[in-house]
Every structure is written in C-alpha cells, then in structure tokens.
C-alpha cells in the first residue's frame, strides 16, 4: 500500500517544487473570537498530487470543507500560503482570484450546481463563455460523450434528474480543462446508484484524461473511489491513506468518532503515517 505516490511531506519540504496541482503551506483559519473561537484549520500543510483523485475526509466540523474552500480560493486564510500550480493564491485580489478560479479551477458542489436558466450545454460551456473563450470542440465532445449527456444537451436543469444534473456539473468542471477540480460532497444529494455513476465518472476522468480532482466527502464508499484519502480532524491532517477501500476508510473514521484521536504533532503530520 505504501507506494511512491507523492505525499504531503513533499509539499512541506519543498514549497514551490514537485508535481502538485495545488499546495497549502501551514495554512491556518480561525473563526470567531474569544469563547466562540473555532480553529477550523490549524497550520495545515498539504499537497494535492497532479493527475490523482484525492479525497478529504473527516467528521463534521473537522475543517475539511474549509480546507477545500481555502485551497480553491473561495475563502481566505489567516496565515500560510496556498498555491494552485505555480500561482500563489494568498494575497491575490478578488479580480485575480476570480480569474484564477475561472481559468484554472473547476467546481462541483453538493447541490445547486447549475444555472437554472441555461441549458445543459450552455451550463457546460459557461466558464468558457464567461472568459470569452471558444470551447475546444473535440474535447467538449469527448467530455459530453464520457458523461453520456449527448441526448440531453438542450434540456434545462429542471428537466434533468439529480444524477444527470451532477453529471452536467462534472462536464462543466472538466470542459475547460482546469488545473484542478474541487468537488464538495458531489454525491451528497444523490441516491446511491446515481452517486456511484458520478464517482466512477470522476475516477475515470482522472485515470483516462489525467485530471486532478479533490473531493470532500464524509461517505467512506465515496472516498473509496479516490487514489488517496486525507483525514482531517480538528483542523489538522491526521492521516493519509493510499488505495483506500470503503471498509478501511470506515474503520479509520470510527477511530475519530470514538474520540481516539491519533497523537499527531501539531502542524504537519508525519510523512507516510498510513493507517497500520
């Protein structure tokens, strides 16, 4: 199970180098003040390897969504640095951040993923439209065929099932060939069959098209589709798991819920602290 997959430690030791699509270096995020203070991220350092499917898992309130938002440029960090490819996000103005999101990042959300007034096809090409760029026709066709939406392109979101909507969202995220795709509980609102379809599709796009995807989830069977799982608790990365299965992930998660928080040094976790 321990293999040569780039681990989080590489990010720590060599910021600015390595084959990472996105990196976070000692980022911290605190919400509220005084008694109401919540440490969402506590000096997290993490690298998202290029061309891999990474899942971020953790119990509610572990900071997994915050981590994703911060890495995707949707939220700001209190300290530390975030990189997408070679670009540092921290310190960018809204305008530059927006541009970066538009050009380099794809998003898939849990719900309300599409613009209701636009057709499926228009939704897919929306980021390119916003940028004023022409879609790469061949690539677009490939993406559409992969998600199997060809007969539904003229439909509005309200005429599509939840699974189909999410596939449109996936296609939109892929169509502009972003550096990295962030998926926030993409299967949270779907039944298990539709969810499995979407996850398989995400995995395939990583394997076949070399896309980089980061997915936040709390569902162990969803995480099992990933190449690597990062476990987050109390704002810290406490574990990573390569080649996860649903059982192993579930097992690991149980450990958190019973309060058995592994003793990890504050800051970066030990490299290769794989479960067992």
């Amino acid at each position: 199970m321990t293999n040569t997959a780039p681990s989080t430690a590489d990010a720590h030791s060599a910021p600015g180098a390595g084959d990472f699509a996105a990196r976070a270096h000692q980022i911290a995020k605190v919400y509220g003040r005084g008694d109401a203070q919540v440490v969402a991220l506590d000096s997290v350092t993490v690298g998202i390897p290029r061309g891999r499917f990474t899942a971020i898992m953790g119990p509610s309130g572990s900071g997994k969504s915050t981590l994703m938002h911060c890495m995707a440029g949707l939220d700001s960090v209190d300290s530390g640095q975030v990189f997408i490819g070679g670009t540092e996000l921290t310190g960018l103005k809204d305008k530059q951040l927006t541009r970066l999101r538009r050009d380099k990042i794809g998003f898939i959300f849990q719900a309300f993923n599409l613009v209701p007034t636009l057709t499926a096809l228009e939704n897919i090409t929306l980021p390119m439209d916003i940028a004023g760029r022409k879609a790469d026709r061949a690539w677009l066709d490939q993406v559409i065929d992969t998600v199997g939406l060809r007969p539904r392109l003229k439909h509005r979101p309200s005429e599509l099932s939840g699974g189909q909507q999410q596939r449109v969202a996936c296609a939109r995220a892929l169509a502009s060939r972003p550096e990295i795709i962030f998926a926030d509980e993409p299967t949270g609102n779907l039944d298990s069959r539709s969810g499995a379809e979407v996850l398989a599709f995400l995995r395939d796009s990583v394997r076949r098209m070399g896309q980089t995807i980061v997915m936040v989830t709390h569902d162990p069977s969803a995480a099992a589709y990933a190449d690597q799982v990062l476990f987050l608790t109390d704002g810290q990365i406490v574990d990573t798991m390569t080649g996860p299965t649903a059982e192993r992930v579930l097992e690991r998660m149980k450990g958190f819920e019973t309060g058995g928080r592994p003793a990890a040094a504050p800051g970066a976790p030990e490299p290769g602290v794989a479960a067992r």
Partner: protein
C-alpha cells in the same frame, strides 16, 4: 402567534419593506403635497379676498346680460350719474366709484416691470379711501401726472418715490411721477398701479364712467341698504350686498383652485396607481421567497386565513409607515412648490385634517389591496411545500390572464372611444376609466408580450456582451410575470408622457399648418395687456413699409340664445388675413350684417338672408342679417359681426388685434413697426414665424409641465425596478454564488444585473410608448374638428425617452448590482 410572525418578519426584512414603503411614500407624498399646497393657496386667497372690500356694504355694478367670463373689458361700466343719485339715498355712506383696468409700469429698459403679458395680472385702479389697500409711504396721487405703485413692483423695478416712470394702459406710455407706494400685502405677484379718479377713468375706462360703485352703510343692514339703493338705479345696473360680492370673488378663486387641485390629484392618482403595481409585485416576490416558511406555518397548524392575515398585517404596517413618511414628504413637497411660486407663495403652509386623513387612507388601502392577491396566494401554499426542496407557487396558466387582459384592454379602448365620441356628459370620466382599464389589461397581457419582446431586446446584449448578456436575457425571461409587472409600472408613466408628447407635436404641427393655411396677413399686432388704441393703429399705418393696418375687435353676444364670442372689424381685411373661404354670400356685411361658419349655419338652419336676434352686453337686442357663410376657420372662430354693430353696443371699444399688410415682409419692416410702437411696450408684433414660435413655446411649456408631473410616476416605477432586482438578487443568492465560484467577475456580475434592468426598463418603455402613441392618435382623431388636424409623432423625443428608460435601468441596477457583487461567495453558495 401569527402576529408575532408578522412582527418578526417585518423586523427581519427591513430592506425589502423599506423598498416597498418607498413606493407608498412617493405616492402618498404626491397626494399629501397636492392637498397641503392647494389648502395653503386657498387660505391665502381667502385671506386676500376677505380683505378686499371688507368694508363694503353694497356694490353697484352693471348687470351681466350676456354672461360668461367678463374680463373687465367685456364688463359694462356704470355711468357717473349713478354715483350722484346714490348720495341722496338714506344710509349710504362714502359711496366710491371704482375704476379698474389694465395698467403697467414700464421699467428703465423700456419693458414692462415684472412679467410682460403672461403671469400675474397688472392691475390699474383709481385711488380711493374705501379701497382695500393702505398707503405705505408717500401720499395719494392728484392730477394726470401722478401715480402710486405697489411696493413690490417698485422693488422689482428699483423705483422710488419721486422717480418719473412710464405707465402704460391704453395708448402710449405716459410719463408719471411716483408719489406713493401701496402696501398690497400678498397679491401673489400681481402689480397694482393707482391714479386719481379722473386720470383712472381716462386711462382705464372712459371719462364719466366707473367700473362699479362701492359704499358702506351708516346704519341699515346690507340687504336693507341694497333694496333702498336698487330703487334709484337705472336699467342695466344692479346692486348686490358686500357679502355677496366677497363670496363671488371667493368662489371664482375657489373654482380655479378646485380645478387646479383636481388636476394635480389626477397626477397623484396616477402615481398611486403605479405605486400599487410596485407594492403588488414586491409582496408577490416576498411571498414567493417565503414559500417554505409559510408552508411550515401551515404544516404546524396555521389556518389559511391566518396566513392571509399575517401577510395583510405586514401590508398594513408598511402602509402605515409609508403613509406617515409620505405625509411628511408631502409637506416638504408643498413647501418646495410654494417656494417655486416665488411672490405668489410666501404665505406659509396651512395644515388641515384632510391631507392627514387622505394620506393614511390612500397609503394603507392601496398597500392592503395590492397585497391582497399575493396574500391569498400565500395561503394557498400546500403544507407539503415545506418538505420539498424547490417549490414553485401554484401558478395559474397564463391563458386566463390573456383572456381577461384582452377583454379589459378592449373594454378600456371601447370606453375611451365612447368618451371621445362625446355622447353627453364629461368625457374625462369614461376616457380616464378606459385608460385605467387599458393599463391593467395590457399589464395582464404583458407577461405574454414580454417573452418575444425581451428576447429581441436582449438579443444585442447576448450577442455583444457574452455570457453576462446571455444570462441577463435569460433572467429577464425567467419569470415573465415579474418582469411584466415591473415593466408595467414604468409603462404607465411613459404611456402618459408619450400621449402628452404626441399631442404636443400634433398641436405644433396643426398650428403650423393652420398658420400656413389660414394666416394671410403679413403682421399681427396684439396687446399683452390693455388695449390697442386708435393712435397706436395710426402709428402702425404710418410706419415705413406698411400698406394697411386694420383693427379687429372681439366681442361677446348671444346669437339666438347661444352665447359666444365674435370677431368684428373690416370684414374684407379679416377675410383676406384669415384666407376665409366664402361658401355663400359675400364679405359685404353692411351696418347690421352677420357672417357665420358652415357648421353654425347648418346647426341653426341659417342661410344668407336669415334674420338672427342678437343680445349684446349692454342689454339690447338687435336683429342681424346673415350676409355670408364661410368655411371652417380656426383663427376666426364661428362668427363675424359688422363693425358698426359692435361699436353701437360697446361703451369702450377694445381692439383685439391689428392686421397689418406690408409691401415686403422682411426683418426691416418688422423692426420699423416695432420702433413705431416703442411707446407701447404692451403691444407685440408677430409675423407668421413668430406666431408659430409663440404657439410652439406655449405648447412646449405645457408639455414640459405635464411631463414633469408625470415624471413622479416614472420615479416610482424606477423604485419598482430597484425593488425587483434587489429581491431577485436575494432570491438568486446561491446562483450568484455559483457563478462567482466558477469564475464570473464582479464586473461581469454587475453587468449582468444591469443588462437585465435595462431590458426590463426598455420593455416597459416600449409598451408605454406603444400605448401612448395609440392614445395620442385616438385623441387627435377625436379632436380633429377642434384644430388638431395633423397627427405628428415626435420620434426624436420618443427616442430620447427610450434612452432615458435605459438610463433608468442602469441607475435602478446600481444598488442591487453593488449588493450582488459584494456577496460573499462562500456564504452565497451555502445559503439555504
């Protein structure tokens, strides 16, 4: 429980409610402002007229035989011999003959001080002790070269006691010395010039005559004295009590003010009507946004009426707050209006209970009625909606709306047609009701119309502005009812403004055409006040380049019982100057001749040779013979009477205009006539182009005035656009968050909202202009016979209004777009 929900809701959605309230505030402000302003003006006039003639017990004056609006010139004077007779009546104290007429002070620049012609009147009078005014400084005038003027005019003309000024009444301006200043109090801008009685008679009336004779009583009551006085009066002269005289004065003014008030209230009503659309739309949107919350209330046991009541309760609260603020704003508006009136509006504001009551009634009733339908829809939300993720309110199909809207539009158009056809009664009522019905009808049809129109309007934006343009177009199409209701509010104001502009352009075009077709004289000399005396006519005749100058008169008479004005003078000249087409008979009118137009002749069954009884203001009846019948003329009117007849029945002939023919019509001739009339600053020389220009100026002034009044409703409609956009932005929070997440910039987002706003506003403008042109054409068609012969659509002006509508769209989008841009992306995405 529901009361608490209502209160919490009000507290939770302050911005939405403020936006709704703004519509109420503006509408109510207009109503309250109108009422307070007219109340204040009424009070001022009342004060003024109870001061005027306050000591008068009995007034002796000429009987009104012909009736109608005697403007002082038409009124018959009272012979001075009556005054002597009155002195012998027991109980009569201090009888004073009044002489009233036109007199104005000529300033150092050779022009009349104050406004020459238009605006407040310039009154000339004789100075007597019973009069209404006090001498402020100086002394009473004596002799033909002394005058006293009101202090206000002296200030305006920078004149003082001892100065010698020109005074113009009839004839050339006379040099007179100012010997005193009159304290007139608040005369609303009118000027007063007073002379001693013989001078006044000579200048203003006719030696040996008075306008009327006022007296106080040495004991007997007004009615007793009146009866005693009546016994010594000759025919044609009557005595009335001072109370009656004062009441008549007051009621004249009250009538004018009443008309003015109604006029303003019509515009206030239009604003309220537009406001109702906004309120309706806002409450509809609020209910739609709160569907889940209301469904939850239903699910946990709230009855339908309770839900309705909760929404209506909010409406009452909004209406109350809006009315209160509107009332305050109305007082401000009234003060502003009064300030604008300059001299006329310096009497402060008068507050009565009426504006207060009406403000609350109008504000609350309109809000509640407008919120009623949304409230009922709220109650129809099924409880299960609370459990569903995305709920749409049950929407009835548009089919019923289309049917109902078409019906209403047709009924409205029918009413307008019937009203304009003029089948008895006041046409304003059916026409107004018809316009109202058309507005509601078209507003109901608007959702259907909006889809194709918005598609077309949005097309260039979608093509040129990329994704934001396309999204904006889709957003405008997304809820046709909402788009339509927002646009409909704008439609009303623009429809009325367009109507006014079409009518204005039509008037201008028609006047131009009339002048071209019917004005045959080279020049026309008219008085802006006072008379044109024979010496002035002589001066014109003598001016270099002038070939002939012929005076024309205007009089009033009852022809076979029908009161009306007539023209008189040299009929040959008049016929040529007006390019009269003689249908039968000729222009040889003789000593007792009468000419009428075709339609009058047809109505009355007169033909050349008919004898017509005519009653004149001097109380005498004469048989006139019809000597000619002419084709319709807008310049002449329907009747021409022989000059000899006119002079026979008129104590003081009053020249209406002098028709001038010249060898050449060029600037030099005009200047020559003008310099010949230098001593007559009250006379104005016009040629064809200046007649057109003056008429145009008047029409333009009127159009501008009405447009400004209507602009209020456009402002309210603009608030409606702000409202719709702001609520849409709130409603689409998550969508906006999503767009921001996938890379739409703030600028693009703002542009998207701005374009949606422009599209909605322009849609409303297009609808309104369509209706406005139709209204204008209908009115022109109905008034074809009254001088509106040519329909003209001012495309340029309408184009400007279209641009204005787009600008309103841009402005209305400012705040909602700013809000949308400021939204936190993360929060937006995770909003429920």
């Amino acid at each position: 429980m529901m009361g608490k929900v209502t209160r919490r809701n009000l507290a939770a959605h302050k911005i939405r409610l403020v936006l709704t309230a703004v519509a109420v505030i503006l509408g109510v402000a207009f109503v309250a402002g109108t009422l307070i302003f007219t109340d204040s003006m009424n009070k001022q006039f009342d004060d003024l007229f109870s001061r005027v003639g306050k000591n008068v017990a009995v007034d002796v004056r000429a009987k009104k035989v012909v009736g109608g609006d005697d403007d002082g010139q038409a009124a018959q004077p009272v012979p001075a011999s009556v005054l002597a007779a009155l002195k012998g009546v027991d109980g009569v104290k201090d009888p004073q003959g009044n002489v009233n007429g036109y007199a104005a002070v000529v300033g150092r620049d050779g022009k009349i001080v104050g406004s020459g012609g238009q605006g407040p009147p310039q009154l000339g009078t004789n100075w007597n002790t019973i009069g209404s005014f006090d001498l402020k400084s100086g002394r009473a005038p004596h002799g033909p070269a002394e005058v006293i003027i009101d202090a206000e005019t002296a200030k305006k003309g920078r004149l003082a006691i001892g100065d010698t000024v020109g005074v113009v009444s009839s004839g050339a301006a006379q040099r007179m010395r100012i010997v005193g200043l009159i304290d007139t109090g608040n005369l609303m801008g009118a000027s007063v010039t007073a002379f001693d009685t013989p001078t006044a008679q000579k200048l203003l009336l006719k030696p040996g005559y008075y306008s009327d004779i006022e007296m106080s009583s040495s004991g007997p009551s007004e009615t007793q004295l009146r009866d005693r006085v009546a016994k010594v009066l000759p025919d044609g002269v009557e005595a009335v009590t001072g109370t009656k005289m004062r009441d008549e004065n007051k009621s004249d003014v009250a009538q004018i003010m009443g008309f003015f008030r109604t006029f303003l209230l019509v515009f206030a009503l239009i604003s309220i009507f537009v406001g109702a659309f906004i309120i309706f739309n806002t409450f509809s949107m609020l209910v739609a946004q709160r569907t889940r919350e209301l469904a939850l209330l239903r699910a946990i046991g709230a009855a339908r009426p309770q839900v309705t009541r909760a929404v209506i309760g909010e409406a009452v609260a909004v209406g109350f707050v809006g009315s209160t603020l509107g009332l305050a704003a109305g007082a401000g508006l009234a003060a502003l209006l009064q300030g604008q009136m300059g001299d006329a509006g310096s009497g402060g504001l008068t507050f009565t209970a009426t504006p207060v009551i009406w403000s609350y009634v109008v504000g609350i009733v309109v809000t509640v009625v407008s919120a009623y339908f949304p409230a009922r829809r709220a109650a129809k939300i099924p409880p299960v909606a609370a459990m569903r993720d995305d709920v749409a309110l049950p929407q009835r199909t548009l089919r019923i709306r289309v049917a109902l809207g078409s019906l209403l539009t047709l009924v409205g158009a029918g009413l307008i047609a019937a009203g304009l056809a003029g089948n008895g009664g006041n046409p304003a009522v059916p026409v107004g009701a018809g316009a109202f019905a058309v507005f509601i009808g078209v507003a109901m049809l608007a959702p259907v119309i909006s889809v194709p129109v918005v598609k077309v309007l949005g097309w260039p934006f979608a093509r040129l502005m990329g994704a934001p343009g396309r999204l904006a177009r889709q957003n405008a199409l997304r809820n046709p009812r909402r788009t339509a209701a927002t646009a409909a509010a704008l439609m009303i104001g623009l429809a009325l403004i367009t109507t006014v502009n079409v009518l204005g352009a039509t008037m201008r075009a028609s006047i131009d055409q009339q002048v071209d077709a019917q004005f045959g004289a080279d020049y026309l000399v008219q008085a802006t006040g006072g008379d044109i005396t024979p010496d002035a006519t002589q001066k014109i005749k003598a001016a270099p380049g002038v070939e002939s100058a012929s005076p024309t008169y205007e009089g009033t008479a009852k022809l076979a019982g029908d009161r009306g004005t007539y023209m008189s003078g040299d009929v040959g000249v008049i016929a040529k100057a007006a390019r009269l087409k003689i249908v039968s008979g000729g222009t040889a009118i003789g000593a007792d001749g009468l000419m009428v137009n075709e339609s009058t002749a047809k109505d009355k069954g007169w033909h050349v040779g008919s004898t017509v009884p005519a009653l004149f203001p001097d109380g005498k009846t004469e048989q006139l013979k019809v000597t000619g019948i002419f084709a319709k003329s807008d310049l002449i009117g329907g009747r021409i009477v022989s000059e000899q007849v006119y002079l026979r029945h008129t104590v003081r002939p009053s020249v209406d205009a002098v028709l001038v023919n010249a060898a050449k019509t060029d600037a030099a001739t005009k200047t020559s006539i003008e310099s010949a009339l230098k001593a007559y600053p009250n006379l104005k020389v016009s040629d064809q182009s200046s007649l057109k220009k003056d008429a145009r100026k008047q029409v333009d002034g009127f159009v501008t005035f009405l447009s400004i009044l209507l602009a209020m409703s456009v402002i309210i409609a603009a608030v409606g656009v702000v409202n719709t956009l702001a609520l849409s932005v709130i409603e689409r929070t998550r969508e906006i968050g999503l767009l921001r997440a996938i890379g739409i910039s703030r600028r693009q987002l703002r542009r998207m909202i701005r374009i949606e706003s422009i599209v909605i506003a322009v849609f409303g403008a297009v609808l309104g202009m369509g209706i406005g042109v139709a209204f204008g054409a209908a009115l022109q068609n109905a008034l074809k016979g009254q001088g509106l012969g040519v329909l003209a659509v001012p495309y340029g002006t309408l184009g400007v209004y279209l641009v204005v509508a787009a600008v309103i769209g841009v402005l209305a989008a400012l705040w909602p777009a700013w809000r949308a841009g400021r939204m936190d992306v993360l929060k937006a995405i995770s909003t429920e």
